[in-house]
Amino acid sequence: MIEILSTGALNSVQDLGRKGYLNIGVGQSGAMDRLALSTANIMVGNPADYAGLEIVLFPMRLRFVTDCRFAMTGADAPALLDDLELPPNWACNGKAGQILIIHAPRRGARVYLAFAGGIDVPVLMGSRATDLKSGFGGFQGRGLIRGDQLTMNPPRAKSPGSYGLAGVREMPSLTTETVIRVLPAAQYEDFKGEARERFFSELWQVTQETNRMGMRLSGAELKLRSPRELLSHGILPGTIQVPPSGQPIIQMAEANTCGGYPKIANVIDADLSLLAQAPVGSKLRFLEIDLAEAIEAQKQLDHELNTLERALGLTL
């Protein structure tokens, strides 16, 4: 069991989200950086889809009420277990009474914590993910507050010592430019030639108006050749919509299931985890690829997770 000592209300219990309810308006939700949560789970011997914590507001402090093995992945954030400094992508044992503090990241935006056995919250519509927008799932349908106590399911694997992963993907920062791969979307051709060109040639800044629902960008004004009235249609995380302001919005984990704005492109699924780590104020550049490359990129990620699972399976 852990107890939350200090937190922001946007820190939440997440797994890999809901499937099969888009047609009744229930979105996927789940971890914004699915790769980081999956990795953390695998590091403590859990299946990749167990529930952990998504931390986006810092500092976050928690106390181990009972002994519990945990892993920390995602953003590169200074973290202390009592007075021991923990590197990123690190797994170790939290002993009863120890306090874990995670400070604002140096690179990246979201830290993930997985606990051996996974967080024990009720499964709702096939998932333990918190849907903050709709107010259900996760821990009491809300973000975490001070005093919350979270219990874990019994772990599957024995606890080995402390270890870390090296060579984990680079995290975006304010001084780097993050390249995000996209596929053109249904209304791509309806944008002016200049808009299509600038979409790819210019840098896009991640604005303050970024949350689990969407990421608003600022940059060149993207204009349609002529105004378009679209009927409501299904959309997915990764959809890049352009409202009349001409400033794009990327739908994220808690995307609405239906929208009406023209769509210029879709971020490929394999790059959504990277995108989720782009901090407010950082710069993005979009790169057009084709569907075969997009599918290959996803296969590559799946392969890396499988390899990690097998490699750790040998030692755990």
């Binding site: 047609n23 308006g25 709709s134 249609h233 959809t239 490929i268």
Partner: protein, 222 residues
């Protein structure tokens, strides 16, 4: 398939989605029936994860490791051309409404905009048979077609920060019912006690695409 139906466009919607767009000028009820019938066929195919009907369009979410986009695109065209349109697939549901009052505060104003008295407005709203074209935007929210065109009212220029759960609403040419309390730019003309969404129910959304709705007058408040 009748010759009046437009041939849909199908395009890629990201690395796991296909989007079928059958919309021409304005919403068409017969096209929507075909969208729903196509959705039913597509849900049964291997590799298809989710099928999301929109207004005269359809999003198919698939798993690229279980099917190929080329095969799925062909299956989607085939399903569209061969779908058996059955207008009676859904249920017919009565939704009791208390019109007007505090929770229907726009009724008098939009009746005046429609150049009719409140009684006539309520009669036209409750006489029509509505179709649940699709469910989305928020959990359990039905997009209803079938609103009498005389009652159509452009959305508010400034959305309200909060409409209550159960609000009976009109936005443009569409009718709706709020499944939860949320911001909205639609006009509110009454309320219902019917619970549209309950995450604890086995089938959380009370209404499904294809259902037909009638609003009955449970009361009128001034």
């Amino acid at each position: 398939m009748s010759s009046l139906d437009p041939m849909p466009k199908i395009c890629i919607a990201g690395s796991q989605g296909l989007f079928l767009d059958a919309a021409s000028a304005g919403f068409s009820e017969p096209v929507q029936q075909r969208v729903l019938a196509t959705a039913n066929l597509m849900t049964q195919l291997p590799g298809v994860r989710e099928v999301v009907p929109g207004m005269n369009n359809l999003l198919v979410v698939y798993s690229p490791s279980d099917t190929s986009v080329g095969a799925l695109m062909e299956q989607l065209f085939h399903a569209w051309s061969h779908a058996t349109v059955n207008e009676q697939v859904g249920r017919e549901i009565d939704v009791p409404v208390i019109y007007g009052g505090h929770q229907g505060e726009d009724l008098a104003v939009i009746a005046e905009l429609a150049k009719m008295d409140v009684q006539t407005f309520i009669r036209l709203h409750s006489e029509a048979l509505y179709q649940v074209a699709c469910v989305g935007a928020m959990p359990g929210f039905p997009y209803l077609s079938g609103l009498n065109p005389k009652l159509a009212t452009p959305r508010r220029s400034v959305p309200r920060m909060r409409l209550e759960e159960g609000a009976i609403i009109i936005g443009g040419t569409q009718a709706g019912i709020m499944p939860c309390s949320a911001p909205s730019g639609w006009h509110v003309i009454g309320r219902t006690e019917l619970k549209l969404f309950d995450q604890q129910r086995e089938s959380p959304s009370f209404l499904q695409p294809g259902d037909r709705i009638r609003f009955s007058i449970a009361g009128i408040e001034s």
